[in-house]
């Protein structure tokens, strides 16, 4: 179209290249890839109204089921936490090792087996000849131990 007149060699080469390029097209595989992308995108978008309705119903049902399950799990955990306290007897020693446990504060009880010598450091003397002692560590919601219950 606008060949530079000041350089005939360049003008001629540009004309040749333009002529060559004028016939060049992307190979068919490119069109196939583009249309495949279209199909993928639109297949994901085109969901029939009835299917959408059922998907919503299924989502609500799943949410309800999960809520109920979580509620049950929460109740079970609360009972798990309360049980050791209910089972505590007068022979146990409760060592407060951190902040006091507030009324209604959710706690976890972790049963551990520790060397009897560790208890000495806490001021509790285990029976003679006992190497390992089972203790319940009461852990607050923040993960910090609040108390250790030692059963004698």
């Amino acid at each position: 179209m606008k060949s530079p007149h000041w350089d005939p060699h360049l003008a001629s080469a540009l004309d040749d290249l333009r002529e060559v390029e004028g016939h060049v097209k992307a190979p068919p595989r490119v069109e196939a890839a583009v249309l495949a992308a279209w199909d993928r995108t639109h297949a994901a978008r085109t969901v029939s109204p009835s299917r959408q309705r059922w998907q919503r119903v299924a989502a609500v049902a799943a949410a309800l089921t999960i809520s109920l399950g979580l509620a049950q799990l929460g109740r079970a955990l609360q009972q798990t936490v309360r049980t050791p306290a209910l089972e505590a007897n007068s022979n146990d020693t409760l060592l407060l090792v951190g902040e006091p446990i507030l009324r209604g504060e959710p706690v976890r009880v972790v049963r551990m087996r520790i060397p009897a010598s560790t208890l000495v450091g806490l001021g509790v003397r285990a029976g003679s000849g006992v190497a390992q002692v089972d203790v319940d560590v009461i852990v607050g919601e923040d993960g910090v131990a609040r108390a250790i219950r030692v059963g004698m």
Partner: protein, 205 residues
């Protein structure tokens, strides 16, 4: 830009095809692709010097069309201008990503000037075209863009200015500079012209 808007009977306008594409009409999208993919492909091929990069860029451009067809405003620019703009952006990204690589994976043998009766002349023209391709790819990007658009894709100065987002005067000055640089590169590469002539003579015998 030539052929930008076609609205003859049975040949819907680009704006109409874009509107239908935005509404999810696959046939309209396919027609848009078939109508315009070649200019995008050629632009990308000349800009990158790579066939595989050009194929990727064509895909990227039409994925953008597929996604953003609803945002195209036919009153602001012809579709070809819009496509060149998207292609330019995708090409820049590709060149930035591949800046550590220098490649020309197309030897041009799949597309050479029409065969002359004179094989020597044919070989010389083919060499010249290859030399020009290499020279174009080695130009700074802003000069390459104007050479590809204005001298090889027949885009008007006004449309090139719209694509590149600059004034028409800038296009003119860049084109002048680009042609000057190309001429220098071609002359430098032409130092081996005598060898080429000898090769052409051998083939002609």
């Amino acid at each position: 830009m030539r052929g930008a808007q076609r609205a003859t009977a049975g040949d819907p306008a680009d704006a109409d095809l874009m509107r239908r594409t935005a509404q999810g009409d696959r046939d309209a999208f396919a027609l848009l692709y078939r109508r315009h993919h070649a200019i995008v492909y050629r632009f990308a091929r000349l800009m990158t010097g790579s066939i595989s990069a050009a194929e990727d860029i064509v895909q990227e451009v039409f994925l953008v069309v597929m996604r953003d067809a609803g945002r195209y405003d036919a009153t602001r620019a012809a579709l070809t201008t819009y496509l060149y703009g998207v292609a330019r952006h995708q090409t820049r990204r590709r060149l930035a990503r591949d800046r550590h690589f220098v490649a020309f994976d197309g030897d041009g043998s799949e597309a050479c000037p029409p065969v002359d009766d004179d094989p020597a002349a044919m070989i010389e023209r083919r060499e010249s075209v290859q030399q020009l391709r290499r020279a174009i790819v080695s130009l700074p990007r802003k000069y390459r863009e104007v050479i590809v658009l204005c001298d090889l894709q027949d885009v008007t100065y006004a449309d090139a200015a719209a694509v590149l987002g600059c004034a028409i005067g800038t296009i003119r000055s860049r084109l002048y500079r680009a042609r000057h640089l190309l001429g220098q590169k071609m002359a430098g590469a032409g130092a081996s012209d005598e060898d080429r002539q000898r090769l052409a003579m051998r083939c002609a015998v």
